[in-house]
C-alpha cells in the first residue's frame, strides 16, 4: 500500500535493508515471543480456559485493549471450532492471522494529487510523540526516493520547535519555511505551500504544534489549517498522519478519534517502536476507525523510519511485559 503512494516498488537492496531494520527493531520482543509461546505450548498442548487466559494476558499487556482482546479471542474461538483445531500452535496462528487481518483491512485513504502540484502531508499528534523527528525522517525517506521535499515549521508554539525542525532540514538537505515563534500556523502554512508551488517541490511536510485532543480550540486550529491548505492546493492535505507514541495506552483510541474528526487523519505513524514498546493500540484503532499504519519509527537516526508491515509487527506484539 505504501508503494502505490510513494512511487514504484523499492529496489531489492532497499527492501532488504528495510527488512533488516524491522527485524532489528523487533528482535528482543521476537526472542521473548518465541520463548513465551513455547512455554505456553509445553504446559498445555490443548486449548484450555487457562491457555486462553494466558493469551488474553499477553494481548492485554500489548495494549490491545480489553474490547479488542475480547473480540479477537472470540474470533479465534470461532475459527478454532470451525477448523477443529485443538493445538495451542494453531491457536497462536489464528490470533496472529486475526490481528494481521484487522491491520491490513484498514483502507488506503490518500487523495489524488493533480499534476504539477505538491503532495501535501500534514503531521499531527499530542505533545511529545515525536512529530518533528518523524518529519525529519519522512523528508529523508522521500529524498531517498529522489523527490524534492519542503518542510513547513507550523509549530509556532513550543519553545525551539522551529530550531529543531531546522536542524533536521539541514541534516536531510530540505529547505524549511518558517516565521517567527508565536506566528499564526495557518500563515506559515500559506507561505510554505506558496513556496512549494513556486519551486515545484514534490512534497511539502507540515509540522504542527503538539496538542492534547481534548482542547477544542486547538483542534479547531487544525481544521482551519486544513481549509487554508485546500484553498492553495486542490485536495490538500493529501495525507494527514497522526503520530502515536508506541507506549501510548488506551487513550490512543480517543486521540485517533478526535484528531480524525478535526483534522481528517488518513493514516498513523507509530514512533519509538524500537526497544520494548508495544503499540498494540494501533490494532484497536485500525479495528474501530479503519486507520492504517503507514510508517513506524525504529531508532533515532534519519533512516530509522520504515514502511509498516503488519505481519512483522504482530510478531513483535506477543512478548510478555
Amino acid at each position: 500500500m505504501i508503494q502505490t503512494l510513494f512511487g514504484g516498488p523499492p529496489k531489492p537492496s532497499l527492501r532488504e535493508r528495510l527488512q533488516q531494520k524491522m527485524a532489528g527493531a523487533v528482535q528482543k520482543t521476537k526472542e521473548a515471543l518465541v520463548s513465551q509461546v513455547d512455554e505456553l505450548l509445553k504446559g498445555s498442548p490443548e486449548i484450555s480456559p487457562e491457555l486462553l487466559r494466558e493469551i488474553e494476558t499477553l494481548l492485554l499487556a500489548a495494549d490491545l485493549g480489553a474490547a479488542t482482546v475480547a473480540e479477537v479471542l472470540a474470533q479465534v474461538r470461532r475459527s478454532a471450532e470451525a477448523d477443529r483445531q485443538t493445538s495451542g500452535e494453531a491457536v497462536r496462528g489464528a490470533i496472529k492471522d486475526e490481528l494481521v487481518r484487522v491491520l491490513n483491512a484498514a483502507p488506503l485513504r490518500t487523495r489524488e494529487v493533480p499534476d504539477g502540484q505538491p503532495f501535501v502531508l500534514l503531521v499531527v499528534g499530542v505533545n511529545g510523540v515525536g512529530k518533528t523527528t518523524t518529519i525529519g525522517k519522512l523528508a529523508q525517506f522521500f529524498r531517498g526516493q529522489g523527490h524534492t521535499v519542503l518542510l513547513c515549521a507550523a509549530d509556532t508554539f513550543r519553545a525551539a520547535a522551529i530550531e529543531q525542525l531546522e536542524v533536521w532540514g539541514h541534516r536531510v538537505g530540505s529547505e524549511v519555511i518558517r516565521q517567527k515563534s508565536g506566528a499564526d500556523p495557518s500563515a506559515v502554512l500559506f507561505d510554505g505551500l506558496s513556496a512549494a508551488k513556486a519551486r515545484h517541490c514534490n512534497y511539502v511536510i507540515i509540522d504542527t504544534a503538539g496538542r492534547l485532543h481534548t482542547k477544542s480550540n486547538l483542534m479547531d486550529e487544525l481544521s482551519k489549517m486544513r481549509r487554508t491548505a485546500e484553498r492553495l492546493v486542490p485536495g490538500a492535505p493529501h495525507e494527514t498522519l497522526l503520530v502515536l507514541d508506541a507506549t501510548t495506552g488506551q487513550n490512543g483510541l480517543q486521540q485517533a478519534r478526535q484528531f480524525t474528526a478535526a483534522a481528517g487523519v488518513t493514516g498513523l505513524v507509530v514512533t519509538k517502536l524500537d526497544g520494548t514498546a508495544r503499540g498494540g493500540i494501533v490494532v484497536a484503532i485500525a479495528r474501530e476507525l479503519g486507520l492504517p499504519v503507514r510508517f513506524v519509527g525504529v531508532g533515532e537516526g534519519a533512516d530509522d523510519l520504515i514502511p509498516f508491515e503488519a505481519e512483522r509487527y504482530i510478531d513483535a506484539l506477543f512478548a510478555k511485559g
Partner: protein
C-alpha cells in the same frame, strides 16, 4: 466509546445498589467489571489483578458484614486499596542538602515532557521560596537546550547555558561533555547563590545501555536529592516496564506524571507507583509554566471513584483569590451592593485560577456537572476578555449604577470596547441575573458548602 473509569464504576455500583448483601456471585461479577475498567484505564494487567485479589479477599471475609450497603462496601474497599497502592499522603520534594545546590535529576523516556516539566519545576520552587537554576545536558535531541533556554528566558529563571563546558569538552556530544556541563552548572549555581539545580537530561529508551550508563554517571557526579521519573499519563502497559528499568538503574526517588489535562484515565499512576514503590510527587496539568501541582493521592483516588477533585479546586481558588477582597465581596453581595466593577473584579480573579477547562476537570463527572464538563471545552477564553473590555469602557458612574446605561451609552460602550451593542446588552443581562442569583443565596461559603457536601461516602 470508552467510558471513564469513574463512569464505568458508577454503572457497576448502580447495578449493585439493588442487592442486599455481597455474595460470592455478585462480588465476582463486580470484580470483572472493575478489571475491565482498570485495564481500559491503562492499569497494568498484573497490577490490576493484584488489586482485585486484595479486594476479593476482603469482600468475602468478615469485614463486609457491616451496616453499609453493598455498593458502599465495594467503593470503600476499592478506595482503600487504591489509596494503599498510591500511598496516603502527598509527598514533598526533597531539596534539603548540606552541600548546596540541592540537585534534581530529571529522567524519563523521550517525549514524556522532561524539558517542560523542568521549567515548571523552576517556577514551582521559586513560588515556594527557592532560587532554582536550570541546566540542560541533552546534547542529542536537536534544539533541546534552546528549548530550555527559551523557557528559562520566559520565566526569567537563572540558566546555565553549558556552552563553555561543551567547548571545553571539544564540542562533541557525548558523556564526557554531559558530565562537564553538569559539573560547571553546579559550580555556577553555587556561585550565583542558587539553592536548587534542576538538571534536564536527554530522553532515552530504557533498553539503551549507553545512555543509561550516562545517567548513572550523572547520578554519581551530582549526588542528587531527587531523581524524578517524568512519565506521560497516557502511557499504557509499557509504563510498568520502563519505570522498573529506570528504577533498577537509578533508584528513583519520585515520579512526575505529565499531561494530566488530557482525558487519559491515568492508570499509569497506579502501575508506576506499584512497580517502583516511589511516590508520585507532582502532576502536570497544562502547557503553561504554572501547570504543575502537588499530587494528592487521596484526591486522585476520589477522582477515579467519580467524586471529583473538589479539594484541589478549593486549594487553588484560595491561592489565587485575595482573601480580603473575598470578604469584601461577600459583604457586598449580602447588602445588594454588587456592582459591575465587582463583576469585573470577579472575572479577573477567575482568570487567575487558570483555564476554565482545567478547573472544570476537577469537578465530579456525575449529575449536573456532567453537562458542565462538556460545555467547558467550548468556553471561549477570549469571551472573558471581551466582557472585561466592555466593563472597562464604562464610566465609573455606570459601573456603580447599571440602571443608567441607556441606548446611547450602550452604543458608546460598544464602540469603546470594540464589541457590538448586542454583546453589551448580553453582559448587562448576565450581570443582572448574577445579582439576582447572589441575592437568593444567603451566606458566604455557599459554593464551598455545596461542594463539600459531595464528599464520597465511606
Amino acid at each position: 466509546m470508552f467510558e471513564n473509569l469513574s463512569d464505568r464504576l458508577q454503572r457497576v455500583f448502580k447495578t449493585l445498589r439493588g442487592e442486599g448483601r455481597l455474595t460470592e456471585v455478585n462480588v465476582e461479577a463486580t470484580l470483572q467489571e472493575i478489571r475491565t475498567a482498570l485495564l481500559e484505564a491503562d492499569v497494568n494487567v498484573q497490577v490490576a489483578d493484584d488489586l482485585l485479589a486484595g479486594i476479593r479477599q476482603k469482600a468475602l471475609g468478615q469485614e463486609v458484614l457491616s451496616t453499609l450497603s453493598p455498593a458502599e462496601q465495594v467503593i470503600k474497599l476499592l478506595r482503600d486499596e487504591l489509596l494503599h497502592l498510591l500511598g496516603g499522603e502527598p509527598a514533598r520534594l526533597n531539596v534539603k542538602t548540606s552541600q548546596p545546590p540541592a540537585t534534581l535529576l530529571m529522567a524519563g523516556l523521550q517525549g514524556s515532557g522532561k524539558t517542560t516539566t523542568s521549567a515548571k519545576l523552576a517556577y514551582f520552587l521559586r513560588k515556594n521560596g527557592h532560587r532554582p537554576m536550570l541546566v540542560s545536558v541533552d546534547l542529542y535531541r536537536p534544539a533541546a537546550r534552546e528549548q530550555l533556554a527559551v523557557l528559562a528566558g520566559e520565566l526569567k529563571a537563572p540558566l546555565h547555558s553549558g556552552d563553555e563546558a561543551l567547548a571545553k569538552a571539544g564540542g562533541q556530544a557525548g558523556t564526557p561533555a554531559v558530565l562537564e556541563i553538569a559539573r560547571a552548572a553546579r559550580r555556577d549555581a553555587f556561585n550565583r547563590g542558587c539553592d536548587v539545580l534542576i538538571v534536564d537530561t536527554a530522553g532515552r529508551l530504557h533498553i539503551d545501555d549507553a545512555l543509561m550508563g550516562e545517567m548513572t554517571q550523572l547520578k554519581q557526579l551530582l549526588n542528587p536529592t531527587e531523581i524524578l521519573f517524568v512519565a506521560d499519563a497516557m502511557t499504557g502497559q509499557d509504563a510498568v516496564r520502563s519505570a522498573a528499568e529506570f528504577h533498577r538503574h537509578l533508584q528513583l526517588t519520585g515520579v512526575v506524571l505529565t499531561k494530566m489535562d488530557g482525558d487519559s484515565r491515568g492508570g499509569a499512576a497506579l502501575s508506576i507507583r506499584s512497580v517502583t514503590g516511589q511516590p508520585i510527587k507532582l502532576i502536570g496539568t497544562s502547557e503553561r509554566t504554572d501547570g504543575l501541582e502537588l499530587f494528592h493521592p487521596d484526591r486522585i483516588v476520589s477522582r477515579i471513584l467519580g467524586m471529583g477533585d473538589i479539594l484541589s479546586l478549593i486549594e487553588r481558588a484560595e491561592q489565587a483569590i485575595d482573601r480580603k477582597q473575598q470578604e469584601e465581596l461577600e459583604r457586598k453581595l449580602r447588602s445588594d451592593g454588587f456592582t459591575l466593577a465587582d463583576f469585573r473584579n470577579q472575572l479577573q480573579q477567575v482568570r487567575k485560577l487558570g483555564s476554565l477547562e482545567s478547573l472544570v476537570k476537577m469537578l465530579p463527572r456525575v449529575g449536573p456537572f456532567q453537562q458542565l464538563q462538556k460545555a467547558s471545552t467550548q468556553v471561549d477564553e477570549k469571551q472573558l476578555g471581551r466582557v472585561e473590555a466592555i466593563i472597562g469602557s464604562m464610566t465609573e458612574q455606570e459601573r456603580q449604577h447599571h440602571q443608567i446605561i441607556n441606548g446611547s451609552r450602550r452604543k458608546r460602550i460598544a464602540r469603546g470596547s470594540g464589541t457590538s451593542v448586542q454583546e453589551v446588552n448580553q453582559v448587562l443581562k448576565q450581570y443582572v441575573e448574577m445579582r439576582k442569583m447572589f441575592k437568593s443565596v444567603s451566606g458566604s461559603s455557599f459554593l464551598r458548602k455545596k461542594l463539600m457536601g459531595m464528599r464520597p461516602p465511606g
